[in-house]
């Protein structure tokens, strides 16, 4: 049974029935799915949710499908891990990482939004799916479209990481690279969205697609034992994930599954692409677009579609945003790997680096329950890591002993210096 209640413009409030549409005809504002929360509150208990399979569909009543999902049956419910060793380094006593670097099937949080979008496309009887992507979204669309037997067209900037390109092509999707950045590709996508009758997951299916991100928020709360953290740090590309995680907390409050939502939402960007954090720090009401220049390609969106709303959410919750240089991003990747055994991609490195800054600035206090949203997997962006190759020696005891001796001498020298 579905609890959806049409689409509503986030700016002017104009309502319209559920359809593959993303923009208010009256004012061009973005459309958002509405739900009948009173009925959900009446019909569903959180104890029932706890008994359901561990995937995003355990929160089905808060997702915008009319029927049972047709994609993403194993997507979601990724580990929320206590990160004691990283917490020690950052100066946080109760730190968690929400690890979406291991979402099924393509190892980024985009599997969540695509599971919802493709199920919705099938409900709408749309037979070809497409997207503009910085890589992770393309991977998710390619894999889930293949599993559903739908042809897919993926539009990407032509300079993406090798792994992200291969991990789209392998599924038989048609991948088209464009000379330009993500914003150029997305502009083109928006222009052609209604030309071919495709389900463009992040354009004409955007209201449904974006709802999938709420499941990150639902899971954080459930995995903390139905309580909210004090702070969540989220990487910002288009800005949608941050606003939707917060919306997830709000909805659980409406249903009475948690008492209140006082979570401060903090955003993380790369210094080479920081339109949202710059607007916040400069006290701007609106976002000023930038031309991205950063190794964090998955979050290199200079003209963020939901930047305005992310900014609003950060301000209204008392959160903050910071940005990290390429060097700090790589340091963040290494720190998470070395302390927690989790290899994240550049967006995750950005989140770790920004969390460190926010603690240093006193914006997160050491006793606050903090969650870092780790959204992708490091194996997809290995180009970002400049790593010396390991030594190669003959397979003889003598050579091994010699090597270990030299290495330990070097280490002692380093300590003395």
């Amino acid at each position: 049974m579905s609890y959806t209640d049409g689409l509503r413009c986030r700016l002017c409030g104009t309502r319209q029935p559920i359809a593959p549409a993303a923009i208010c005809e009256a004012c061009f504002g973005p459309l958002e799915v509405q739900y009948r929360y009173e009925e959900i509150r009446r019909d569903v208990r959180r104890e029932e949710v706890e008994r359901r399979p561990r995937n995003i569909w355990r929160y089905a009543e808060l997702l915008p499908l009319e029927h049972a999902p047709s994609t993403g049956e194993h997507t979601g419910f990724t580990p929320l891990r206590r990160a004691r060793r990283l917490g020690e380094k950052l100066g946080l006593r109760e730190l968690y990482i929400k690890n979406d670097g291991v979402v099924f099937p393509t190892l980024s949080f985009k599997d969540r939004v695509v599971a919802v979008a493709l199920s919705k496309a099938i409900e709408f009887d749309m037979n070809t799916v497409a997207c503009a992507s910085t890589g992770n979204l393309a991977n998710a669309v390619a894999a889930q479209a293949a599993a559903a037997g739908l042809p897919a067209y993926l539009f990407i900037p032509d300079d993406l990481e090798h792994a992200k390109v291969i991990a789209s092509q392998i599924y038989g999707a048609r991948v088209i690279g464009f000379k330009g950045n993500y914003d150029d590709v997305n502009r083109l996508c928006t222009e052609v969205a209604d030309r071919f009758g495709w389900a463009m997951v992040n354009v004409n299916l955007r209201p449904f697609y974006a709802e999938g991100s709420k499941t990150v928020g639902f899971e954080i709360v459930e995995q903390l034992g139905w309580r909210t953290p004090d702070v969540v740090v989220v990487p910002m590309a288009g800005g949608s994930l941050l606003t939707k995680i917060h919306k997830g907390f709000e909805e659980l409050t409406k249903l009475g599954w948690i008492d209140r939502n006082e979570v401060r939402m903090c955003g993380a960007q790369a210094t080479g692409c920081n339109p949202i954090s710059a607007a916040l720090k400069n006290g701007l009401e609106r976002i000023k677009p930038v031309k991205p220049d950063t190794i964090a390609k998955s979050i290199a969106i200079g003209n963020p579609a939901d930047g305005f709303f992310a900014l609003q959410t950060i301000r209204s919750t008392g959160g903050w945003a910071e940005d990290a240089s390429d060097r700090e991003i790589v340091d963040g990747i290494r720190l998470l790997a070395e302390t927690e055994g989790v290899f994240t991609e550049t967006a995750g490195g950005t989140t770790v680096a920004v969390a460190r800054k926010l603690v240093e600035q006193g914006r997160i206090r050491s006793d606050e329950v903090t969650v870092l949203a780790i959204t992708g997997n490091g194996l997809k962006t290995i180009e970002a890591i400049d790593q010396e190759p390991p030594p190669s020696i003959p397979a003889r005891i003598r050579d091994l002993e010699k090597l270990l001796e030299t290495q330990s001498m070097k280490r002692q020298e380093a300590i003395i210096l």
Partner: protein
């Protein structure tokens, strides 16, 4: 001097369902004025009361956001293409608080 203007779906009711129209103008601002003359009501949908491009609309000249150029004062060369695009492709304009 002729410029091709691409009209987004929600505004085509005002252009008799035409997705592309031709106009002749020297700047982006002038182009919007001319669109208004030929298709009354169009400029009000694109610009707010202060005459600036609305928050959730982006205007591109030959693929470049006019906010990276000279805004409404951006000169238009002959044969250019002007695209009016809903800001689901991102953004909104800068304005000091």
């Amino acid at each position: 001097m002729s410029t091709l203007v691409r009209i987004p779906q929600p505004l085509r009711k005002l252009t008799q369902n035409r997705a592309e129209v031709e106009i002749s103008a020297r700047t982006v601002g002038e182009a919007l004025n001319q669109l208004e003359q030929e298709y009354p009501g169009l400029r009000d949908r694109i610009c707010d009361e202060s005459g600036e491009v609305r928050q959730f609309i982006n205007v591109f000249l030959d693929g470049e956001d006019i906010r990276f150029l000279q805004g409404l004062g951006t000169p238009i060369a002959d044969g250019s293409e002007l695209s009016i695009i809903p800001a689901i492709a991102g953004g909104s304009q800068e304005r000091e608080r």
